[in-house]
């Protein structure tokens, strides 16, 4: 069930990078959050979409999450206007 874009709720921007973008078929989306949400809760909600979402964002998968460009843990809070990025393990250098 995708977030419903009602006026009252606020919106975050979700970004998917590299392999995740391709696996999920989405580079970024506006996602409505209702009030006080955690990174973990957001991940679970996306996971609940089933299909590739359920596979790629399952708890065991090595996905790092950044809020406004800073890596965070699952208990981090998300606020309206935040940018939440889902990052596969990095392979630079």
């Amino acid at each position: 069930m995708r977030g419903s874009p009602t006026l009252a709720t606020s919106v975050v921007r979700i970004v998917f990078l590299a392999r995740l973008r391709e696996a999920l078929g989405v580079s970024d989306e506006r996602y409505a959050i209702d009030g006080d949400t955690s990174v973990g809760a957001l991940r679970a909600a996306l996971c609940a979409r089933g299909g590739a979402w359920a596979v790629e964002l399952a708890p065991g998968r090595a996905v790092r999450i950044a809020v406004n460009h800073a890596l965070v843990r699952d208990d981090a809070r998300i606020a309206p206007g935040d940018e939440v990025a889902f990052l596969p393990p990095v392979t630079g250098g």
């Binding site: 392999r19 460009h69 990052l87 990095v90 250098g93």
Partner: protein, 152 residues
């Protein structure tokens, strides 16, 4: 103290000279260049595409550079990382560290590349005879970073 992300190649000698320009107290310059190998995990690699996360990647590199300067007695640190299409043999990343003496310069240079490999948001997609694939993170890289006693 600079970080650059670019698609163009770089000249390590010119970058090193610029970094230590006018700093006659520098006695040691240590440079690391990572290059595209033509084989990975046993498969031939014909080309490579480097992706990054604009904004976060720069911040991550700056944080690594600041961490290196906090840990080691060095004078200058420069990181240049390329993005976009690359071919085997092409340089990917340059890390230059200048210092009064070589010990700290070697440590800092190695620290920066070890941390970059596990913390800077870059991803490699390679083209092999079996088609395109995203490169997997190497455990050896996690081990290398762990050896520095991660401060996070």
């Amino acid at each position: 103290m600079a970080v650059r992300i670019q698609s163009a190649p770089f000249d390590a000698q010119a970058e090193a000279d610029a970094l230590r320009e006018g700093d006659r107290d520098v006695g040691a310059v240590v440079t690391f260049v990572g290059t595209v190998r033509d084989v990975n995990e046993g498969d031939a690699v014909s080309s490579l595409e480097l992706e990054h996360y604009p904004g976060m990647t720069e911040k991550a590199l700056e944080a690594i550079e600041a961490d290196a300067r906090a840990r080691f007695d060095v004078r200058g640190v420069l990181v240049v990382h390329r993005v976009g299409p690359l071919a085997p043999g092409d340089p990917i990343v340059l890390v230059v560290v200048t210092g009064a003496h070589r010990g700290a310069a070697f440590d800092a240079c190695r620290f920066v590349i070890d941390y970059l490999k596990t913390r800077a948001p870059f991803w490699k997609k390679e083209r092999t005879p079996h088609g395109e694939r995203w490169v997997e993170a190497r455990e050896a890289d996690d081990d290398a970073a762990a050896r520095w006693g991660a401060t996070r």
